[in-house]
Symmetry: C2
Subunit: 433 residues, 2 copies
Amino acid sequence: MALVVIGGVAAGLSAAARARRLDAGLEIVVLEKGPVISYGACGLPYFVEGRIRDAGQLTVYSPEYFRKERRIDVRTGECVVSLSHPRREVALASGARVHYDRLVLAMGARCDTSGIAGAGQPHVFTLHTVDDAVRLRRFLGEKRPRRAVVVGGGYIGVEAADALRRNGLRVTLLEHSANLLAREDAGLTAAVRTQLEDHGVEVRCGVEVKAIEGDRVADVACEVVVISAGFKPNVELASEAGIALGPTGAIRTDDRMETSLRGIYAAGDCAEATHLVTGRPAYIPLGTTANKMGRVAGANAAGGRERFPGIVGTSIVGIFGMGFATTGLSVAQARAEGFRPVAARIRAKARPVYFGGRDTTVELVADGATHRLLGGSVIGEQGAAGRIDVIAAALHARLRVEDFEQLDLAYSPPFSPAWDPLLIAAQQLLKDL
Amino acid sequence: MALVVIGGVAAGLSAAARARRLDAGLEIVVLEKGPVISYGACGLPYFVEGRIRDAGQLTVYSPEYFRKERRIDVRTGECVVSLSHPRREVALASGARVHYDRLVLAMGARCDTSGIAGAGQPHVFTLHTVDDAVRLRRFLGEKRPRRAVVVGGGYIGVEAADALRRNGLRVTLLEHSANLLAREDAGLTAAVRTQLEDHGVEVRCGVEVKAIEGDRVADVACEVVVISAGFKPNVELASEAGIALGPTGAIRTDDRMETSLRGIYAAGDCAEATHLVTGRPAYIPLGTTANKMGRVAGANAAGGRERFPGIVGTSIVGIFGMGFATTGLSVAQARAEGFRPVAARIRAKARPVYFGGRDTTVELVADGATHRLLGGSVIGEQGAAGRIDVIAAALHARLRVEDFEQLDLAYSPPFSPAWDPLLIAAQQLLKDL
């Protein structure tokens, strides 16, 4: 039995490692088109910032590690150009063919800059691979640019803006939509904007960038540009092979991560997932989700029976020391999904003032008809990750606000106030429901 | 309609405030036997430490605030000596009687030192009221003791040990049982012991203190003693009035917080609560629980219909900067409750090393038969409160380990690793189940 995995980053390697653990005899080949595997894409902005000094720190495992410790044949620089399921083989750019019995597609996503003229210039970067980050960092050191434009106000965009600002550049962030962090939520957008502006980043929403003209982007002068927009799942190989895509445009799978072709699984940024709040497919590509999907895909490809139920859309980003965390649906998203959302937003100390407590903002969204929690956000310098995770757990468990209000959360002055901000928000929401 | 509340700290004032909010016309009287109300008992160790410099910071609201802003008649120094439900009145030590239509019992608990000879000496303290803390702090300043003994290794005991050590004293902690933090859990006890010893506190378990003989406690020389043992609910007033106590010895209530006598409610440290993991009554007196119980008691006493479902036993304590958090049942407790507990304990970084990540220890306990999560603990300097709260939410929702393993938790390098320690623990536990 041969398992072939296409893609050697989060989902692909999670799949390969999990398959090995379940089946010691399986032949496992991982084909990665890039030069390095197993890198933490989420760490790239911190390499640009300079916090991570050695690009080697961005990679967790080497191909040698997988070969020796796991008996997994990891091949870098191998680009799969087509796959034939009837013949159970993939064709490489080199012309070679690799046979498989089971296949895991973990081709990830890409930053598609084809809609932006001039994106190929040497001072224009994306921030998607280790190579991207190394080249950008080198450019900053060698060319000493003073003004930067970041195109795209999603997670990588704001992290790039933060990293460039900390390197002393003047930074302008341009976002096509009216929202930041890819979430239709005016309150969140306003808070992110304020945090960026307070730290010297100029923010302009509603600006579509179609061209980069030398040292100008949409009338903003700059010597370096980072594009963090046009994020697209790599699905061409799959769709050409007849594998069904879902309504999001990413590869559709069942809860075993199996695609429409038996024996072919998909995981990570090329695949969609079930959103557990809406029950519908969603495309929210994140490293943690990729890891979980990969594990399940690998287990099932190796003959196991595991399920990946789905996601609730939890994420967090740090912007100049402040955490911006969201999970589930915003009010606008909930309304678009047919719920009757009611929201409450409160501001409270994250812990007692004598333990340095700072303000944190908690928003909870619930359905007016059923009182079921639908989503929330937490903004603050202290405890934002822990608090959003509690809301995420509540979404998984489909808790109602009445249940959430009674959660027995830990209290002690070094850590939290007697009434946790989460519970204060739930009390407020119950008044409004 | 007159509502009388006996006790003016967490539960009592929560009840009074909530009752006022629901019924603007209600006559509300709060009778507090002590000189101050509305104090944060959990802050007392930090006043002893010196972090809180002004004892006034320990109290949240004054009687004047309640009188003026809430029209609640809060009377301090009023000790209720008996209650007659047939006559609907309580008798005060002064001889006066106060009529009620509804009554909330929030008498709290006490630190019963009657079993320790010599506990009344001037160098022996408890740490239960603001007055206790002020007297201890003054004693430390005036007498400059160099050696302290703390009797009792529960939460207040270890916090007192921490506070005294930070004041430069040599500290010995004596605990009657084999456990620390009131939890039968050898791993937790060992970790707490190590943390205390690493910071210069001598720990002796299995030592019962029956007498304090001048400057010696169980052969340990000292000039100051803090007793944090013999914690007992104040139930005498209730039981003399014919109100039923539960199996824990605290006042029994239904989920509306009503006692066995109609119209009399109980809340806070004098009452027991349903443990949602076992479904049985438990006595785990904590400030957060008192607040929640008080709110529900007050709402129902004012004619509302609210429920307090119960607790899962979540708590956290900081010891020299390290968080020790527990929730639900330990293995020993689960076994005693008739479960077939299986546990997994892992150690992982709380976040990436390049963001200063330190080790955190997570233990999860599940039932071998149903895979339902029963409890857990988190120990670490980073994120312990947030992570224990996620486990607590999972216990409320009766999640199975398989569900918990798939939680969509927030990830970004400043906050957490790609595989959260909670999920690593769940993966480990699933292997062992």
